[in-house]
């Protein structure tokens, strides 16, 4: 299984990269390569031009900006995993990233590559959806910002035009003291999740929900925010009855369906994992509240 032939480009600046994708058809960006290279090796893709964007320093990095965290698209998952800033301000992402593949995957893989590849089971798009990330996208025409919910259009389909490159992801951290949990069910460690659940919670002094985000990965073509369930939980306590009501809604999800993993199974596992994730997030929220 060897890749088919292509023209290889290794630009050193974003402008050069944009010029190449602007000028040529049938191009593919080579980021971490963890998703693209298997497809090339298996000849599932035959790009005429392969644009290696690993040598563009301006595309990588983690920084704070006006209270938000901006992560360059080419930031390695490894760097996210070991970043004290991420661990402190975006603990959901820090937890999710440890579930992405294996050490070798994370050493090369990038957050931008994962979000643009948009595998329905991938962890990073799920976090981006959970946290209402804003994506910055560049082309020769200029720069635009797209909310994650508008970026993820359908099964492995993003709002990127052929001549656009994702440059960074901006995430607004939740208030210090919030609870979080990212759990998933996969057959083996490091496999893509069959179902993943991301929970973010803020509780008030009376342990009532003041803010919540519930996101399912692996269940639908793109990560699914359970916005109705979130609305229902606002102002309520996280009693087992309330949580059970949320879990029951999984039965109605228009989930992915294929002969290997039927719809009912994804719904059932989602309903199983959701209460577990909420419990972990609630525990963490209370623990942190207890400190203050």
């Amino acid at each position: 299984m060897k890749p088919p032939p292509f023209h290889y480009h290794a630009p050193h600046t974003l402008q050069d990269a944009l010029a190449i994708v602007g000028e040529h058809d049938n191009t593919r960006l080579l980021a971490g390569g963890q998703s693209l290279m298997p497809m090339l090796n298996m000849r599932l893709l035959s790009p005429d031009h392969l644009v290696d964007i690993n040598r563009i320093p301006e595309l990588a990095g983690i920084r704070e900006d006006r209270g938000g965290i901006v992560i360059g698209a080419m930031t390695r998952q490894r760097d996210i995993e070991f970043s004290p800033l991420i661990r402190e301000r975006l603990p959901l992402l820090a937890e999710a990233i440890t579930l992405v593949g294996h050490r070798q995957t994370r050493n090369r893989g990038t957050i931008g590559g994962s979000i643009c590849h948009l595998d329905p089971s991938a962890e990073q798009p799920a976090v981006a959806m959970a946290m209402d990330a804003t994506l910055t996208v560049a082309s020769q025409r200029g720069v635009r910002e797209i909310a994650m919910r508008d970026f993820a259009l359908g099964l492995m389909t993003t709002a990127l035009d052929d001549n656009e490159i994702l440059t960074s992801i901006r995430i607004e951290p939740w208030r210090s003291g919030h609870g979080w949990a990212f759990i998933e069910y996969a057959r083996r460690h490091g496999d893509f999740a069959i179902v993943s659940v991301a929970v973010l919670l803020e509780l008030d002094a009376a342990s009532k929900v003041v803010r919540v985000a519930l996101t399912l990965g692996g269940v639908c073509p793109v990560p699914l925010r359970l916005r109705e369930a979130e609305k229902q939980l606002l102002g309520s306590a996280l009693t087992s009855a309330n949580v059970a009501k949320v879990a029951e809604q999984c039965a109605g999800i228009d989930a992915l369906d294929d002969p290997q993993v039927p719809r009912w199974y994804r719904r059932r596992v989602a309903a199983t994992l959701l209460p577990r994730a909420i419990a972990i997030a609630a525990e963490r929220a209370r623990a942190r509240d207890g400190d203050s």
Partner: protein, 166 residues
Amino acid sequence: MNGGEKMISVTVNGQAFTRPVSSRRLLADFLRHDLALTGTHLGCEHGVCGACTVLVDGVSARSCLMLAVQTNGCRIDTVEGLAPDSGDGEAMHPLQEAFWSRHGLQCGFCTPGILMSLVELLRDVEAPTEEQVRLVLSGHLCRCTGYQNIVAAALEAARSMSKQAR
């Protein structure tokens, strides 16, 4: 045209090489055939089995998922560079010694990739737990050993390397 040729300069196990490569040539094939370093093996070519694992600029990477051209200017470490010297009767890296003592290999095909991942682990974590070792090994497939003795060998190497460090 075989995908275009580029000149690359790499340092492998401390030795510098400059070679022309076709753009589409996989790093694993470059190491194995262009540099005759056949210790790194190919088991799947789609990034799951881990047999092709090497260190690129010090971190583990599946060499079947990298193009040789990507490694221009990089430092690569393969299994051949682990033992302190090349004489056959001489001492090996503590990991290799531990694998030998604990029967951590059977056919030996998946072993070089696993050794490189464990080199990284033991460099980054001084006293790994069994769970941490198994997490690293989960990126590798072995059909012979059932992983048990590999885990034992990794923990033994960690202990002996930790002693040496003192």
